[in-house]
Symmetry: C2
Subunit: 134 residues, 2 copies
């Protein structure tokens, strides 16, 4: 079921400062920031050749990543996104295995305009996993 | 400087249980466990096509990941490993930019038999970064 690693998401308190570190210190190439109001974040993508790093800054205190940053003020790795070919088949198989899907269990449209689901980190060794249908 | 993402390392308290979740629930293909006494870990690799996931279980209380698991008992994302072509050139450039290298700053031989260095997570938004020369 598990396909390619689409991206690693890193929550950051200051997107401009984090972007400067990746650009100037690590020599990476970054996209322009995109504001995604429906996800409560501003995002910058870094293409590292075989996958992407996604830097996430919360838009406001209601952002899904605001609570994470409250616990980890300097930021940290937030989730891993894997590609799947059929997100409903993947969800049904995961639920049969006893894994918990976050929210109402229905796919939402993610940052790339494709259906996504998040799996409960307690079922996967403390790792928040996003599945994206490609 | 930053090359491909070689792997994402996830610290786990029970490698057999975590392996079963990735194999049975997520349908992934895993390597056999390898004991690496010089790194204080037992490791299983998961090939997801474009990169690898590395599951790490501490060998003992002196393991570098034992303290991480004491803070995160169910496990969690531990570090990201990027490839570089020249690890000494990368180190020198990072130090010029003010980034801190862990340990004595000299590359060690990593799990793949290649020179590696770790960068201070406080300089990279709470993310522990490993560089591996390929």
């Amino acid at each position: 079921m598990l396909g390619r690693l689409n991206h690693v998401a890193i929550a950051v308190p200051d997107l401009a400062a984090a972007s400067a570190v990746y650009r100037d210190t690590l020599g990476a190439t970054l996209t322009e920031p995109q504001v995604l109001p429906e996800h409560g974040v501003t995002v910058v993508f870094i293409d590292v050749g075989n996958t992407k790093i996604e830097l996430l800054e919360p838009l406001n205190a209601q952002s899904p990543i605001a609570a994470f940053l409250a616990k980890n003020p300097s930021g940290g790795m937030h989730h891993l996104c894997y590609e799947v070919t059929d997100i409903l088949a993947a969800r049904n198989q995961l639920q049969l295995q006893g894994a918990r899907i976050l929210g109402d269990g229905e796919p939402k449209i993610g940052a790339h305009g494709k259906p996504v689901l998040f799996l409960h980190p307690k079922d996967f060794n403390g790792t928040l996993i996003e599945l994206e249908q490609v």
